[in-house]
Symmetry: C2
Amino acid sequence: MPRDIHILTEAQLRQFVSVDETAIDIVAKAFATLAGGEVIMPPIMSMDIPSVHGEVDVKTAYIPGFDGFAVKISPGFFNNPSIGLPSTNGLMVLFSAKTGVVEAVLLDNGYLTDVRTAAAGGLAAKLMAPQNVETAGVMGTGAQARLQIEAAHLVRPFKKVLVWGRDAGKAAACAADIAARTGVDAVAEPDPARLVAESQLVVTTTPSAEAVLKADWLHPGLHITAMGSDQTGKNEIDPAAFTKLDVYVADRISQCETLGELRSALQAGTVATTDGINELGQVVLDPSLGRKSDREITLCDLTGTGAQDTAIATFAFAAAKTAGTGTIVEA
Amino acid sequence: MPRDIHILTEAQLRQFVSVDETAIDIVAKAFATLAGGEVIMPPIMSMDIPSVHGEVDVKTAYIPGFDGFAVKISPGFFNNPSIGLPSTNGLMVLFSAKTGVVEAVLLDNGYLTDVRTAAAGGLAAKLMAPQNVETAGVMGTGAQARLQIEAAHLVRPFKKVLVWGRDAGKAAACAADIAARTGVDAVAEPDPARLVAESQLVVTTTPSAEAVLKADWLHPGLHITAMGSDQTGKNEIDPAAFTKLDVYVADRISQCETLGELRSALQAGTVATTDGINELGQVVLDPSLGRKSDREITLCDLTGTGAQDTAIATFAFAAAKTAGTGTIVEA
């Protein structure tokens, strides 16, 4: 019995999904349900292929109340730039939550991941950054450096952005892009200590294996969103910084303790136990679990969850289907 | 930079892939490479969704020397038959082994899985069944009951087939289908003990949680392929049967000890250790590890591997691409 399956390309998906308040709301709903304990989210499937410098991650989650669930396949092949291809690509497959039937194949080349990741950063800033942010800093100069600042600016309309990266040219280019996208004064800042000192909100977006943000730099009224570490072996935040935090929030404790900043802190002993740690969805449900004063120092640790994928994919497909966009295959 | 992605439907894939000697050879090559230790195959990702009586499995494997690797997503939603839908469906996504770029989406509704599963059974029969099989028996009456017998008949052209199932009507229908497909005399046999007694080759294809094939029924010159158990909690072969086996072969030891018949035998203590157990690919490479005489009793335990999926998907896509079949989407 053939059924209609919708095929959507990145260009088509971009018509319906972008880094905006809708995306932040969608992701907030996914985290809230995740915190409610009703989401089914198996551990990430991961395959390393050292011979070609490649890796493949698969994420999924079933969220009660959503029409579908997504399975996302994200390959990263890090020799690709040498032959003119992006390192990362991938797609999401959306299934009916009632019957498991394939509904849609979203050939997004990682675009939906970019959006849902930035939206989680926007949500973290909304719930945890001080009310008044004059200056935002970003460490790292890739696609997420741009998108995280764009998302944060939606919820904290700061006046200035500082960009730090190992490569001064890339930092300048990133600052120029951010200025063009947000209309905010954005400049490269070669000294990461100064960047943190001058910012009330800092987003770290690097794939670093060694801390790029030192404990000594923390100051009252700072919020940090650390979204670079999503694998064992990555670490952006000095483990000693955890002793200075007033509030630490994980997107998912079970992931952060093995893949996020929490892993390094547990290993270094600056966090003794995960008891008492809140997840981002709990802060959505009860914002008093986030920042309590403008003087507190807060950190949100983002590793990326299958719940976000299911939420953004379900939204994207519903919008495209309503608009009649996409190729339909009878399969 | 948009790239061509090929979308292939089940009807299109059926033009190029079927249960035949080519499929058995493809699967044999995958198992041989798997046994060589060069295949990268992460543990199966599994998500249970009890509220809708659903489950989703994801399998993958990277096989050196193959142009691509597949990620297979297999949902099973067991309330579906009540609304006229099949329980299982799913698809495979094929990626370039060099760049990780999406090459093709194979909307096969589980057809390629059916073929590669039957082909593994055919391979097991080829390597482990006695040379002369007059009668083959099959326990279970579903799609795999039909396909396993079809595959086994390619390598052991038996004259008679006995079919046992809990439902006499389904057993009769399955026997009629087998007779029509293979031209062999096939009849329903209500007594499973008699079915085993009269057969030299028995394939078990049930989702049973309790042994359907008893240890007392084993006799010299019997080969059993057990392919029904692919989850913790399933069990087709009486654990006591393991004490009577001359040869036991696993498709993958790490899977069989948690998902296959080996699990129940280890639990019952009729197998003390997995030391010394061979995998099917080792028997491909050295057939002397299989059956040594017509009097031996042998068992092959099949749980299904991502290596088979990658092998069949790579073959199917290459054939369809050469023929110019499929829908091309620029994504």
